[in-house]
Symmetry: C2
């Protein structure tokens, strides 16, 4: 069975395991079962017509006496590119806008308050080629680009916060960044969050195109909760998640683009660990499909030059602070994952596990400050 | 199916999934397949006679031109208590010594260079009771306790590093600590590592008995590699793993005692995330069985007083820096997990993924230093 034919872990388990064992397997793998969300018939039908997967789940919190529930609905969208990578750039971008427009419309039918797209969603993930042209032409202004304008329209139309990760061109100095634009449900650009950690691994030649982000660990206070965006490779860095959480994030999005051979076994681990460790929700989003490029390129692995990056395996999911998670979207299809979460769960789990209180952060601040100095003496005991 | 009857995730998957799908499911769940280790017949027979599970796996690294492989074998031991919790203390400790002695002998037959026992391995995990007596009588001196002497004998006899997590009584001030004693293969006490983070969750009333450790993030340079010990609840704190790694740890042991209802879905996530994030091996060890106490106690959950803590689910495993992991030991039986690892893999994966280089630690040191101040202003953007 080729990796790109394997539809999803959950489907395999559900097809073959006897019921009692399935319940135990799921408990160990996913934690407390995430209830399925009833989605409106019109949404289910539209998703089917528009040929994308639609799944919905709910994370509940316990009722409290002094606070009402803070239930919101988040939408994660994963998709393949629409046109071939050698189609005219404007056509590619327009086709992607159009595709996402029809998915976001379904998200709106499902009552989604906040939607996040995948990393550099308007373009193929062309950084494997190391060609500057034509790919840097996909870069857009955060404030005035057509993609931001498109997202502002969606935000206003559907009263929805939109997180739109793009390739950014900062106009004054013509610098490029890998940036998530955060648009309020009023349609205003709340701000941007640039990718903090840039990979140099396999075909991920992104350091050829842009540098480490300079926006720190900004958190955005939206009407529906405090959110942050940890882009792609930043999920491998526990300190990155942690610092967003230290700044108050209740939901951390992780828009990504990653392929099976490289990272798939790590995918279910890292965002979920971050949700557990930081008493927050995390939302991991990955693109799907295989993208073919006209020019061949090598992957630094001694193998022959080739024209594609491998299979982007989708599998987008949401993890909760109690260690539970939703099943993933498909490994092969466009999809919308709608997740209702009661943000009260974060504080409830914090009160239960108390990682922020038992974390001894002041001591780590001291230790880390020492550890980054050139004269750092590691604490190593020898016989 | 009751949680304590479910033997292991792997067994369920292997019994029911068709071969081709099983391969994909295992790839997604466990990463690159960990080869089974051929263990000597005498060891397999002895384990069977002595009624404990014996499993062996191997993590390989690529050959290098300038460095020979650094293959070592690590043994993880999980076990239930031997005598009832109301037996005389000395009898309980002696019975546990005797039980571990016969498991370590099998580890020696398997060529194990380094063994680690579970948290406070000489005693029941009695901290749920909140009774001081008789449990504090299990505490021993790191330097002169009978358990350390017992481990020193094992270490010399088998030329094996022994990590022995005990309840420590520091003699001068009669203070208690949750401490791992690290004994060199020469039989010398290399030093100790005290539990850095103390839980206050569910039945884990450990903060009633001992305080946060004061030994920092000490790493022990043994003949077989640089090791560190992150005890139990410390695995929920990514900074704890990280700081051991910053001090040079190649293998981080996580001797634990944890129960199904509380933590089981988090168990496969946290130590494995630490191996990935820190380019090192991690070894998670949990006790097995249900321990009954004479006095009843409550669990702070509104439920009736009762006499046991719940089921300790074993499931000890080793995770590698490439994101792969071994299957777990059983959820219900005593067991020895023998893992051969080539420590060269750590640097190879670091060269591939480069988290330590892309980690921007100097910036985190500054941010964290600010974040722990009382006048910290979180970076929150509002509309």
């Amino acid at each position: 069975m080729a990796a790109c034919e394997f539809e999803s872990l959950e489907k395999s388990l559900e097809s073959h395991l006897p019921e009692a064992e399935l319940a135990e397997v799921k408990r160990v793998l996913y934690g407390k079962e995430t209830e399925k969300l009833d989605l409106p018939v019109c949404a289910v039908e539209a998703a089917s017509e528009r040929d994308f997967e639609l799944k919905g789940y709910r994370f509940e919190a316990a009722p409290e006496q002094l606070r009402p529930p803070r239930r919101i609905r988040v939408g994660l969208i994963q998709h393949r590119i629409v046109l071939p990578t050698d189609a005219p750039i404007l056509d590619q971008v327009t086709a992607m806008h159009s595709r996402l427009g029809e998915v976001v419309e379904v998200a709106a039918m499902c009552g989604v308050n906040m939607v996040c797209f995948q990393e550099t969603w308007t373009m193929p993930f062309a950084f494997c080629t190391r060609e500057k042209e034509p790919w840097t032409e996909f870069a857009e202004s955060v404030e005035e680009g057509s993609t931001t304008r498109f997202c502002q329209e969606l935000a206003k139309k559907y009263n929805m916060v939109v997180v739109s990760p793009i390739l950014e061109r900062e106009g004054l100095h013509s610098t490029l960044w890998n940036t998530a634009v955060v648009i309020s449900n009023s349609g205003h650009v709340l701000g941007k969050s640039r990718k903090n950690h840039i990979p140099r691994v396999g075909d991920f030649n992104e350091s050829t195109y842009y540098m480490e982000g300079d926006t720190g660990h900004t958190v955005f206070q939206t009407q529906f909760g405090k959110i942050a965006v940890n882009i792609c490779y930043g999920r491998h860095h526990p300190l990155n998640w942690f610092m967003y959480s230290m700044n108050g994030a209740e939901i951390i999005f992780n828009p990504s683009a990653t392929v099976g051979a490289l990272s798939e076994p790590m995918w279910p681990i890292e965002a979920r660990n971050a949700a557990i460790a930081n008493h927050c929700f995390t939302c991991a989003i990955n693109r799907v499909g295989t993208e073919h490029f006209k020019s061949e390129f090598t992957s630094g692995d001694g193998k022959q030059a080739h024209h594609d990056f491998g299979h982007f395996y989708g599998s987008s999911y949401v993890a909760a602070p109690d260690g539970s998670r939703t099943p993933g979207l498909s490994r092969t299809r466009d999809g919308l994952l709608v997740v209702e979460m009661d943000l009260n769960l974060n504080r409830q789990i914090s009160d239960k596990w108390s990682f922020k209180m038992t974390g001894r952060y002041a001591e780590y601040a001291e230790e880390l400050t020492k550890a980054v100095r050139h004269d750092f003496k590691p604490m190593i005991v020898k016989e």
